[in-house]
Amino acid sequence: MPAGSSAPNIVFVHVDQMRHDAIAACGNPHLRTPNIDRILAEGTLFTLSHSANPVCCPARTSWYTGRVSTEHGVVNNSLPLLESVPDLGQWMGQRGYACYYTGKWHIPNRRVDQSFTVLPGGSGHGERGDAGVASAAVGFLSRYDGNLPFFLNVGFLNPHDCCFLTFAPENPCIKFGSVGLLRDELPPAPGSFDAKAGTKSAEGGQWDETKVRLYNYYYYRMVEMVDAEVGRVYAALRNSRHANSTLFIFTADHGEMGGSHGLFKKSQFYDPALRVPLACVFPGRIQAGKRDDQHLVSGVDIPATILDYAGIEPMPRMTIARSLRPLLEGTAVEWRDYVVAESTISRTPYRTVRTRDFKAIFYPDRSTALYNMREDPLEMRNLSAHPAHAETLRNLRVLHNQYVDRIVLHPEYQSSGKV
């Protein structure tokens, strides 16, 4: 159905690699995020929001196709999206929306200009390009005077730049020699980091506790940098004539390990990489200042929400995605009691199943992990071999297989089915 004259505008702002807890308003004392704090105060935050697949391309492809990664086929950063799969830009553009994009896209085999009118901005680095992305969005929001409702997408890079801190084995771009001056301000190493053993990054560098703390110091500064740019876009929207007719969504593609469990960056099912912030604002329609810590949601729910508010039918094969609208507007609804995320090891997909209390991981080699998320939020004790939890693991396996029954596997991943 085409968008009607009362169809809202939609602004979808996403950042790259932001942990769910890297927000001052969520109690993190190691950084200042006044702009994201404002978004949370004026909207609803989902505290149990999960990346559909904690890697850039798969997560982003899920945002824009409404499919999980073993459905759309982009299970890692190098595999292509099939040309036949529609994306949000194409779908909404054909149904009465003016669709614009600035900043990071990163969906393999799908040029952004095939789906959106592309605004300038973005460079591959947050420190260099995010200000330009925000400037393009700010200019657009103050000047757009078209007749159609707009769907503006704003893709920031930071805090993804933290990846570069591990590049080159000696980590030469990190100013480790200045750490003495910063010692009193460094955040603590993550609780799951083994300070005695230290760790080695994938690029070969050795990381001790002080270095991991400095890594996180840099990371938080990058979150603050992108907070400022997100704030410019949000303020421009609030100051524009579109303020009360626009749904604003803020999220991240995946989180950042930051030394948790001796790991950096993403790809993991541990919470620091898997959980992401997700907040929505729509004055008068979405509850302001609400923290939803009950409902398990996924990045794949975002396109379903956008289409619901736009009054447009879902794209084909949105098997798992559900609109967050009833949760945002306080309407009674029966919600899922588990959420699944996918990732790959050596191009082989595997999955995690998360309920409110437990998280199970079903590895490609058929091994498993099980964590009690209420009693062990750092995910330090794998309970999968514990007889007392055998039934829990069995139940989570059943949920995994229910999920597989619901999705439509991409031809390449027919073997990535039940466990």
Partner: protein, 293 residues
């Protein structure tokens, strides 16, 4: 030897000494560096140099520009705060190849700052070009007080695509005025009034106080920084990163002042004995002073 040649060579020697492979590089002598300088001049903005294995330098402040320093020649000019002068900086990137092992330092763009002093203010006319599409032109007026605090500014930020219908949408402009107690910022027609209890600085005003940044390296000397086009960054401070004396008793010829604060990755102002800000190094983006005219 002319004074300016002596100055350039001594600074260069100092910089090279501080680098990881400094001694070996210095031993190659001036001829080698001249060749490198010619190569640098020939480099096109936005392209990278050859990737090199890089280790952290002895001075952490120089880490982000270590690869660039292989061919860096400090400018000849002397900073004279009483005259109208033009300072030009390379905008230097930091990156690695796909192997994530070898480092390169591409020149991404250029900043030109024309400073015009008068009895009570200094005006800075700034042109910044970053990559092919991003340009900023602005005027920043600073007081001649101790901090060179920012009094007024206006700039236009353009992301050019060559398509008029798009460029019209994405152009942004901002002006601002700082009375000392409150700051009024007007962005694309929307006015915001902020209180600003700490001195408000901009990068260009700091260029003129670079030689005495050490005076501000106390915890109580917090300041707010205009970081255009991103906005105001409150809670900033300077700290002296290295002592004045080198091991062996010789006076250190370069000051490294660390700027920290919210939304600021550790950023160094690297200033020579003449008070010239040779480098402002952050993380993936740094500035390198290449000429003073």
């Amino acid at each position: 030897m002319k004074r300016r040649d002596f100055l350039a060579q001594s600074i260069e020697a100092t910089l090279l000494t501080y680098l990881g492979g400094g001694a070996a590089l210095a031993a190659r002598g001036r001829t080698q560096v001249d060749k490198a300088a010619k190569k640098r001049t020939a480099r096109v903005a936005g392209t990278g140099g050859v990737g090199i294995k890089q280790v952290p330098s002895h001075v952490a402040a120089l880490n982000p520009v270590s690869a660039y320093l292989q061919s860096y020649v400090p400018p000849d000019g002397i900073l004279d705060p009483t005259r109208r002068q033009t300072l030009a900086f390379d905008i230097v990137g930091w990156g690695t190849g796909k192997d994530r092992q070898n480092v390169s330092a591409p020149i991404l763009g250029e900043v030109t700052v024309v400073r015009t002093p008068s009895s009570d203010v200094v005006q800075y006319e700034v042109r910044q070009k970053l990559g092919k599409e991003e340009a900023m032109t602005g005027r920043f007026r600073c007081r001649t007080d101790r901090w060179h605090s920012l009094e007024e500014w206006q700039y236009e930020y353009v992301l050019s695509t060559g398509q008029e219908n798009i460029d019209r949408l994405t152009r942004t402009s901002q002006s601002g005025k700082n009375t000392g107690e409150q700051v009024t910022v007007r962005t694309d027609g929307t006015e915001t009034v902020l209180t600003c209890p700490a001195p408000l600085l901009c990068r260009y005003g700091i260029l003129d106080m670079a030689g005495r940044l050490k005076e501000f390296c106390e915890a109580e000397h917090a300041f707010t920084m205009l970081h255009e086009p991103s906005g105001l960054r409150p809670g900033q401070r300077f700290r002296q990163d290295a002592g004045d004396v080198l091991p062996g008793g010789r006076k250190r010829p370069i000051q490294t002042i660390l700027q920290t604060g919210p939304a600021t990755v550790p950023t160094h102002w690297i200033v020579d004995e003449q008070g010239r800000p040779l480098f402002i190094t952050a993380f993936l983006i740094s500035w390198a002073l290449k000429s003073i005219v």
